[in-house]
Amino acid sequence: MQSRKKETSMDKMNIGLAKRYRKERRFRLFGLAAVFASITFLGILFVSIAANGWTAFQQTEILLDVHFDTAEFDVDNLYSVNYGALVKNSMRSLFPEVKGRSDKRDLYRLMSSGAVYILQDMVMKDSGIIGSTQQIWLPADDEVDMLMKGHISRDVTEGDRRLNDKQISWVDTLVAEKRLEKKFNTTFFTAGDSREPELAGIRGAAVGSLFTLAVTLLLSFPIGVATAVYLEEFAPRNKWTDLVEVNINNLAAVPSIVFGLLGLAVFLNIFGMPRSAPLVGGLVLTLMTLPTIIIASRAALKSVPPSIREAALGVGASKMQAITHHILPLALPGMLTGTIIGMAQALGETAPLLMIGMVAFIVDVPGSVTDPSTVLPVQIYLWADSPERAFVERTSAAIMVLLAFLISMNAIAVFLRRKFERRW
């Protein structure tokens, strides 16, 4: 009797067990599918951006024999030299058969309008080259670049192309003479913004982002941590601290443009700070990231076991010593994680910066936190909105730079976390 009864209950359990395992397998499968799906989407995103953008790291350049004719430099001011004529003369010497005003114009158009400034810079740096003939690789126009990269099709009728048949034949001749090649696009990493895609670079925006984030980090981390420590360790629990807490949590969810409006009203209109400056951008983004950092820091402080606090107080450490010697070091990895999340958010923001004038065309690479500048996501937005086709690949390339920024920031965070954790 008894053994049979036992058997049946075991049987029942076994049936249920199989069901439970099935459920567990299903659950794991769902989890795996979710992970797989997100990795797939991420992969698609990366691949499509990289596929669109990698060509931007190459730029078509044309080799010219430029003769720095002394006659042209017969003026007082090196700025007022007609450098355009130097380029045009060199182009004409390559294609002496080209006659007629409009044909010549078409020929000159193969060259980037920035070639002139490169020559100007060369002369400014070293006036010794005046009178000599130099072989110089100069950037080609963005249309030529697009043709070389296959973004302009030769098959469509001539009128619908940005390059006519003659221009294409000249390009082919240059390629045959090995005077036209795709080279690594250093301009992209050394120049500021430009309306000519072949002259446009990410450096201005990257430096702007760096300045802005530096201001944000330097302000939001100490303020955020100090606030969190005060609220968590010193503040009495009462209505006021509850109110502060609710407000901080609310601020974390406020649309970022609101912080931009606040920045405009307070920093620009009341304090009279300069528009478009990374300093103000950093201040606005500080306001935006503070709630994130405070919330993460408080969570990190809360997660420090109370036994550590008691141990420190038990040997006679003051509250301050208990916090700085024991609690903060233990909470630091969590605080850093929160800060990096906040910084990553700040790195990707454009909306609040619109209000304080950082959505702007700025050619010069900023040299300080008060120089007008823009930031990476704004640069991406501005390029994405530009009609020239060559900006499409540059937009993707800029996104890649932004992602590289993010990845290196996260890598630094992981490194710091490891470092602080290993101390124990």
Partner: protein
């Protein structure tokens, strides 16, 4: 070693047999009834290191400790026993003002350490806690090296004049805590990597490194296995020569083994105080008797 010797005698009594039951019945008239919550026995001693008078503790509205008056004698081990929630830990934490960290906790009454009221406004809790050290229920070494754990107290109080001085303090504290032999070759290893019993002894070494007068122990062996417990109990007996020790425990055998005096708490009241021998062999209060004979607790 005397205390250890007493263990055998008392041990029989703690496990109530038929004989004890008979003896109790015969003495029934002498017992103080359960309803009477005034302290019986001898709470006061002549040569007191700490004196507590009419201590009341509230957690918000809850009256956690009621009118407790007791002395802690010089170089004695005072055990505080009682069922869970009786207030023994709360009372222990009043002795070095650890309760200050709890917002809702309010303490009234007079607690003196060497004739100085520790709740006086002029008293700084930092030196107080250096004088009255504490060892907690769960071993809680800092997540730092063994050396840093022990050196931390002397460092913050500025007790060591030089590095060698500090090294000496660490060594002597670890020796006193009976841990030196086990860890002398790995002082730079994390304290959290030690076994539970070693961690608790490390915490004791950390507490004695600042040379306190009194050491409070809040159920120091409750998270340890029997062998580690025996080691710590032996240690307590040795430390007694230098320090005054107040130990809270829910383990009656332990109280009997290590302490000279025992205080029994019940729901916030101090019911009975007396020499450990007397309390365990001849409790005067019905509640004490109920507890040590295992009727509840």
């Amino acid at each position: 070693m005397e205390t250890m010797g007493a263990v055998a005698d008392i041990g029989d009594l703690v496990f109530p047999g038929v004989e004890t039951m008979v003896r109790e019945e015969s003495r029934q008239e002498e017992k103080v009834e359960r309803e009477d919550r005034s302290t019986v026995g001898r709470p006061f001693v002549d040569d007191a290191r700490m004196t507590c008078r009419d201590v009341n503790v509230y957690y918000g509205e809850k009256h956690a400790i009621r009118n407790v008056s007791i002395d802690v004698g010089r170089n004695e081990v005072l055990a505080m026993i009682g069922p869970s929630g009786c207030g023994k830990s709360t009372f222990l934490r009043c002795l070095n003002r650890m309760n200050d960290t709890v917002d809702s906790c309010r303490v009234f009454g007079d607690i003196q350490l060497d004739s100085l009221n520790i709740y006086d406004k002029s008293v700084d809790v930092v030196p107080l806690r250096a004088q009255v050290g504490m060892v907690f229920q769960k071993p809680n070494p800092f997540p730092k090296s063994i050396y840093d754990n022990v050196a931390y107290g002397p460092k913050i109080h500025g007790l060591a004049s030089s590095r060698t001085d500090l090294d000496g303090m660490v060594e002597s504290s670890l020796k006193k805590a009976g841990l030196w032999k086990e860890v002398s070759d790995r002082l730079d290893q994390p304290g959290t990597g030690l076994s539970g019993g070693q961690q608790q002894r490390l915490c004791i070494a950390r507490a004695i490194a600042v040379r306190p007068e009194v050491i409070l122990m809040d159920e120091p062996c409750s998270a340890l296995d029997p062998i580690a417990t025996a080691t710590v109990e032996g240690l307590i007996a040795e430390l007694q020569e230098q320090f005054t020790i107040v130990i809270v425990t829910h383990n009656m055998q332990q109280a009997a083994r290590v302490s000279q005096r025992t205080a029994y708490f019940h729901l916030g009241d101090l019911i009975e105080v007396g020499s450990t021998d007397r309390v365990f062999t001849n409790p005067r209060h019905r509640l004490t008797e109920d507890y040590i004979t295992g009727r509840f607790g």
